[in-house]
Amino acid sequence: MKYLDEFRDAAIVQRQAALLHRITTRPWTIMEICGGQTHAILRFGIDEILPPSMTLIHGPGCPVCVTPASLIDQAAFLSNLPGVVLCTYGDMLRVPGGKDDLQSAKARGGDVRMVYSPLDAVELAQWEPDCEVVFFAVGFETTIPGTALAILRAKHRGLRNFSVLSAHVRVLPALQVILQEPACRVQGLLAAGHVCTVTGCGEYEPLAREFKIPVAVTGFEPVDILDGIIECVRQLEQGTAQVVNRYARSVRAAGNPVAQALVHEVFEPVDMEWRGLPEIPEGGFKLRNTFQEFDAAAKFAIPGMTLAKVSECIAGAILQGIKKPGECPAFGHPCTPLNPLGAPMVSSEGACAAYYRYRPQLVEIATQEHRRGE
């Protein structure tokens, strides 16, 4: 496909790797923010062609993984109310909540439907006027304009049976929290290119200054990811800390002003609990009061649900990049994609699921250790 295949060219990747080896003189630690980038790094084996001294840390950019357990329980609760159709992205169905999950709620008779887009949920509300359609909205700044668009479309069409349960999260406040951690080892950042198509690059400037950290706005194909790493290493070797847009084919410096305006019209920042992280100031988005009629949290009496699950799972440390999946005592046994203990094993973009899929030798080690322990 155009704009994908060219950026998976093995010859270019090999030249990039050679260049990277030539310019790297010290051990650098770089964090890729987005789970999609983590997935690509493991899928294409990019971590295996880097200079051996270099470490990639997998960032918190998987919205499925950071959705608080209590919100998943709330969505499951809503789906079991008579007349309610709960729509969400496929990734959300198996994520364990505090005491429930959407797949189990569906098995109990809840009407849970997978959609590709929030706009599909609006169509459903129009086709089925007797149902209350609730869209369980997860996602970062990339995804939020779609939810805003869906709400504005529902309003424009005069629909009264459509609402949104918002689990939308914002990347930058979370990065702030992670970089402030004394245990944080990150020296360079690959910013998530698709988030930046909406937000632009400017909001990383204060972050780069405050933490003296180079930021490369980076795409998702192998050539893009190596290009972002090369940019970070060049800056680290020279001692600079600039924000550089390396995904300029899709990212404009100012982002997408139309998408920004849609989001601003419908949503406002709110302090938000992230799974595995402390509550993050302005870490999420909620619907503005002027859109209360579309806010499922206001429309339905949802009981507050918080219940932390106790297990060996170290999802919090994984999401902060402090530990790697192979270091978790539960990785591979008992935690697998079919029996996930934590969210990073559920989502296809979660770091644990990516390691499970693309690094079978780690799963083998975990299984052997378990056998020895028995």
């Binding site: 992205y89 893009d224 997408n256 973009e349």
Partner: protein
């Protein structure tokens, strides 16, 4: 989750900005998506699509510029210190 795929706009429909839809060709697979966030889009453009709406219009010159950075002859001439 933030996966977005480039596809070619082959048709545009709808007057109201909230209802404007583009038919996008993803290498033979067609899908209608909202183009409300890229109102300046034209038939023939490539747009980056995520969760049923367009995020941005792909800039071909920028795509080629990045690939050119790593053309064989360019990389071979680079010394460790020389910027590109």
């Amino acid at each position: 989750m933030c996966l977005a795929i480039p596809g070619k706009v082959i048709e545009l429909q709808g007057e109201h900005s909230l209802e404007r839809v583009g038919r996008i060709d993803f290498n033979g697979i067609l899908r209608d998506v909202s183009v409300a966030c890229t109102p300046e889009v034209k038939v023939g453009d490539y747009v980056l699509v995520h969760a049923g709406f367009s995020l941005s219009i792909v800039d071909e010159a920028e795509a080629l510029a990045l690939l050119a950075t790593f053309a064989d002859e360019v990389v071979h001439e680079l010394s460790p210190e020389s910027p590109t």
